[in-house]
Amino acid sequence: MPFHLYFLRRLLFVIPTLFGITFFAFLIANAVPADPINANLPQSALNDPEIIAAFRQKWGLDKPPHEQYLTYLGNLLQGDLGTSIKTRKPVADDIGRFLPATFELATFGIIFGILMGVGFGTISAVWRNSLADYLVRGFALIGVSFPVFLLALIGLQVLYAQLGLVAGPGRLGVRVSEPPVVTGWMTIDSILAGQWTTLGDALSHLILPSLILGSYVSGMIARVTRSSLLEVLGMDYIRTARSKGLSERVVIRRHGLSNALIPVVTVIGLSYGNLLSGAVLTESIFAWPGIGRYMFRASTSQDFPAIMGVSILIAAIYIGVNFFVDILYYFLDPRIRLA
């Protein structure tokens, strides 16, 4: 199948999925037996029908649900996600402010996750049933099952409070001057502004949370890498490669890993999507002003426009990452090209 056809076909799948998601997000938001009035008006105003009516009218809560949905969809098509009840700012602006922080953290997290996961998975497969294999598998199990908040707190207590190796909560130290906002990434913005001290501080703040996110996703990546690599290493062509007299290093890298990576890429894509949709706990513990915390606050105050906006964003991120993974398959798996 030529690339452009494959690309278009994948893209066509995306559109109905996105619509479906807006519909379900709306349905769920409306099905919750909670009234945003209670969460957003002061106690004293709850006895005043006039204030309540004004609030309902202002946020369109007085209209029938299908009408609310159609209005929402119409605005959405024009790129308008509505206004947050809590922050009284356009949801799109809020997302624009909080998303880069999550994006930066998730990217550093997934890099650590890939390095650790693929590395450990390979070790484990190559030296199967050795001590190293058991250690790595034990680590992977811990990575997947150990509560993130506990790992984060222990990390903070030891590496930050006791040893002073890394910086503490937040994206920057309170006394460090912020670079002018261009991308919203502290690291890139400080490089652009030539603020090297700020860059160092930003990196120092990034290391711990991204290591923790990385170790969280690396467990899954390591397990998939291991099993996929083991399967590939048992294939006939590997035996052929070895019998050709190729070094073990080349056999594993060129013939083994590159073929074993297809399921790994899928897992990496899903993990990245997972990290991008905001790791609420990690963001809370590290006081990271990201989309996960924004979503959490929106949910607890029944801020429907914000909940809808973030739900759609997260769905779009997942769909986007999956789309990208599908495109990667095209290049990684010759079978797709030939089908």
């Binding site: 002061p42 650590f112 390095l115 707190l153 409070a161 190796l165 937040g170 501080d201 290591l211």
Partner: protein, 527 residues
Amino acid sequence: MRRFGLWILVALLVVGALLSGITSLAQDEKVLVIGHAESTDSLDPARGYTQTSGFIFRAIYETLVTFPDADASSIEPMLAESWEVSDDGLTYTFKLREGAEFASGNPVTADDVVFSFNRLKNLQGSPAFLADNIASVEATDPQTVVVTLASPDPSFLSTLPNPAFQVTDSQVIKENGGTDAVDAATADTAEEFLNNNSVGSGPYQLEKWEPQVETVLVRNPNYQGDAPYFDRVIITNIPESATQKIALEAGDIDLALDLTADEIGGLEGNPDIQIVRGPANIIHFLLMNADPDVGGPMADPKVQLAVRYALDYDGYAALWGGVQPGSNLAVGIAGALGPDEAIKRDVEKAKQLLAEAGYPDGFEVTLDYPDFSFQGVNMNTNAQKIQADLAEVGITVTLNPGELQVALEEYRSGKEGFGYWFWGPDKLDPVDFLSFLPGGKVATERALWTPERAEQSLLDLIEQAKVETDQAARLDLYRQLQQYAQQTSTFAPFNQPDIQTALRADIQGYVWHPQWLLDVALLSRSE
């Protein structure tokens, strides 16, 4: 790939550590860093109504009158140097202090007060209800403001220290889209400006508010009072209390405002940390239902008094710190009876009262309470102590801890015969005590101590206290009411626990305040 990853990690750790070392070299500026779980919804005084905005407002704005630094025991001048109340209790005339200036350099005038109060009312934001009873505000000359109320409210003065009534720079707000007109709810567009600038006359001004990240205050160059110690105050948002604790130990923050009792306990003995304790304004009390069908023996006033004599008040204070309040009015509020005037434990007297009531051998009763901890006070522990105290006078108590929401429902609908609850004041004024007297919310709806069940002399006294506008006479009436309640009441208040705050050992001047939480202008660092 494995080795490569490891090297990147090591390199990042080293670079990070080196550079964080460089950046933490402090400048000459005196900086205070406060760690807090930010709840600010707006820094527009007519819109914001949260805990965080409260102490930020305290630093950047001033009100007409205020409370003392540590409690709400009296009304003190701030922007108003004096005030008079008309005999009918409807008209309050405030004389403004000469020379007060806003951060812009504009003088604080009566017109600014009129603008601020009208804007609060007409904007219909979260705190607007506080101004519901204001019929009109007028400036009769540049230094005189006359506030007319719709109905007499002797607690009006103690409402004024609320940040909602801060006096704002009308000129600057108008230049930035603000209005105090009747249509302010739709016409006013100054919120964005006020979220990033302050227009007050307090010791600090707002440098920036970056939502969910930090709020930065710097000195107000035009402040007329004593200059505060810190040049810059940074309130950094740390939503998790466990992280606040770690940041406090690491010395990155000077004050952690949201630690739990367990976390504070874990800091005990750390030489870099001090723990400041003082009575908060939460009162723990027993409720004894006045309806014999619900309360059984507990409905008898003699039994109720016996319970008040039976409790080991010093024991509760030993458990949680704090004081024994003289009544259900929190110590620290004007007119509240303190521990010296509180009822003392007297087991013999309690037994004698029970015998007089017809229970010489005591009786059995069930204590309902929520299985809950509030501000570090474990209600289960207190309930067990209540059980032990009452056993000494012959009352056999069965404990019945309930899920909070369920127990709350029973309590609020007046179905509890004998209950254990706590209360935080709605208003920092003696008027709050009326909730615990017939006609008031807790007494009437929850203890079923209705006006029909009350003595006429008590009802007369309540009516008098409600309308008296002379502060001295008013406080005297509330003292009489509290003394009455010590002898006859369906409640047994037994403890007002301490509130605890952890801060770096070199920070001085910290006091917790029931209205504004803390006043950063009072803080300094020992050198």
